[in-house]
Structure formats: C-alpha cells, structure tokens
Amino acid sequence: MSVKKTSFFEASARTRIARLVDPGSFSEFCPPQLRHTSPHLARLHAPVAFDDGVAVGCARLAGHPVLIAAQEGRFNGGAVGEVHGAKLAGLLDKAVSERPAAVLLLVDSGGVRLHEANAGLIAISELMRAVLRTQAAGIPVFALIGGSCGAFGGMGIVARLCAEVVMSEQGRMGLSGPEVIETVMGVEEFDSRDRALVWRVTGGKVRRALGEATRLVEDDVAAFRAVTADLLAEYGARPLKPSSLDTLFDAHARLTARTRRFSAARDGREIFAASGFSDIDGVPLMAVDAFNRHLMETA
C-alpha cells in the first residue's frame, strides 16, 4: 500500500488538522461562517480572514478525544490578535472543564500581530497562563511545530510551556526571529539570509539536541500523527503530574547547567558537537531516524 506523504510544512492549517486526526472526527468551534473576523485589521484596511488565522475544535486521534487548534502561518504570519488569541484561550478553558486526553496546538506563528499589538501581547500572556492552568489540572498540552512561520515571539514561550514539543527539522522555534535580530543588531550578529545558519540556530534538530523539543519527526503529517498517538498512549498510561517545586528545581538545574556549558555558543554546530555527533556538518542532512537513534544511544 502506498501512502502519499502530506508535507506538514506545505499544508494549510485546515489540511493539517484533517490529516492529523481520525478521518472526519474534527468538529470546529466558531467556524468560518460565523465570521469572527478582526475589527482591528479592518480598521487599518488590512485583509481579514473568517477564522482570524486559527481553527479550533475537538477531534479524535487514534480514538483519544482531543481539543485541537491550528494556526494558519500564511495569514499574517500566524500572528496572534484579539480574536485569534481568544479562540485559543477559550479552547484551553474548555480543556479544564471537559478533560480531553490532551490539547494539541499546531503552532505556526511569528508571535504578536503588530496591527493589534497590545491585544496580541495580552492574549499571549493569557495563553501562557491558560496552558499552565490546563497542565496544573493534569491535562497535557502538546505543541506541534512544522510550519513555515515556526513558533516565535510569545508563541515560542507558549510552545515551551507545553508538556511535549514535537518538531520537524523544517519547523523552527525561538523568541526573536533572525530578521528582527539582524535589523536591530546588524548582519554580523545574525545573517537572516544564511538559511543554513538560521536552521542551525532555530531548527528542529538543534532544538531536539538541546532538549527544547521532546520529539523530532519527518515533515509529514502522518509522522506527526504517529508520534502524537504514541504520546497520547503514554500519557494515558502515566497521566501528567502538575509541576512541583521538585520538578521545577530539576528543570532549573538543567537550564542553569546548559546555559553555563554553552556560555559562548553562537552556532548549532557547538550543540551538535556536544551531543556527540561525529560528522557535525552532516547533521542537517541526517535522516530523522538516524538522528533520533544517535540521541537515544548517547543519552
């Protein structure tokens, strides 16, 4: 049987959802025909979208009930405005009362939408608290990152609050995008046109090697689905324990040690070298399976 690959990177938000979850199981909340568009974009005469760049709803994945959201990176860079943010926040509120197996956030966003920057910043702060509240209630939130906008700005913080961060090499994650750093600090600091460098600093492999991402998968919606199904089974068997003083002290020690260890690092090559890869320059081209196997063997 041949299964046609659907590139997660190329797919729209709605296609990602449709191919990720059990066929036909997605039911959308506040669907496009309700026309919850952004009045702030309209006031600035900027094009609006009927879903304000995010689809939210419920579905099943390998039979597990999930709540799911997918940001559309091609609409305003997946950026968060008032309506967009409220849909995500409402979905997380729903998770606390309905207790699905997990909340899946298909993040594809540059962060705050500048046309409604204050509303976006506040919405992201509300999202951060909502993710923490959801996970304190024992419901895990998974971030799935593999779109063209990655997870940047405040959405990079939201992603890292999630119990699991699943990435493809094509997906990227960080706080300030390379273009922003280049504009403010100069091309010597970060050459955003050096795509290989950009991926060695923000891409899925360096994020996985560093421990910022918990899984690395192929750029294929089916691969995202398979690993999410595994994670749902894992959390079903061993439910998420809310973070505690002990777990956060551990995380703190790890982050502190890592920050010291890489106190002068400026290129993912240094992270790959520390992870024991022998052919450092070959890592970006390494097959995902071989990459994952190496990390597992050296862990």
Partner: protein, 105 residues
C-alpha cells in the same frame, strides 16, 4: 479596502443541501472563499472584500463567468481577497465549489 456585493441570476442549482465550506487562505496574492447555502432562489449573492481598489469591472467579469459555469443558484459566496489575480480568483472559486459539493449535510 473596497467592499461590494454583486447578485447574479443563476437558474442552475445544486439538488442537495451542503454544509458551509471555506477554501483558500488570505495571504498575499491569494484569497479565501466561503460558500454557504443561502435562501432558496435562482440568484447567487457574492460579497467581495479586496484591498485593491478600482477593479470592480474585472471582478464583475470574473464572477459572471464563474456563475455561468457552476450551479450556484441560491448560494451565498463571500470572498476575502488579498490581491489575487483574476486567474487565481477563478481557480479558487472552482475549488471552493468542488469542496462544497463534496460534502453532504
């Protein structure tokens, strides 16, 4: 931004009701098309929102062609455009009709 509504006579209509469908993404040079079953009738109401002002005649021509080749009687179609060319608009409208017809309510 320019917004306008055009209503076309459309005698040809789909036999069954279908749930609303959205097609396309609002990104530069692209558009989204929302197709919904409207009131019963032999007209098609199309609402357009576009950042490119002054192209109403071209929109009218593209939409008239579309209405003539598709069974759009009684449908309500809403477009959020982000500067798509007439060819892209035509393509997206046809895709929207295909996805709309593919799912029965």
């Amino acid at each position: 931004m320019e917004q306008f509504v055009m209503t076309f006579p459309a005698a040809c209509r789909l036999a069954e009701a279908h749930p609303p469908r959205l097609c396309g993404v609002v990104s530069s040079g692209n558009l989204e098309v929302l197709v919904e079953s409207g009131d019963p009738g032999d007209a098609c109401r199309i609402e357009v929102s576009t950042p490119a002002t002054g192209f109403r005649d071209i929109w009218a021509a593209v939409l008239r062609d579309f209405v003539e080749r598709q069974p759009v009687g009684g449908l309500r179609i809403t477009i959020n455009d982000a500067g798509a060319t007439p060819a892209v608009v035509s393509l997206r409208l046809d895709q929207a009709m295909d996805t709309f017809r593919s799912e029965k309510s």
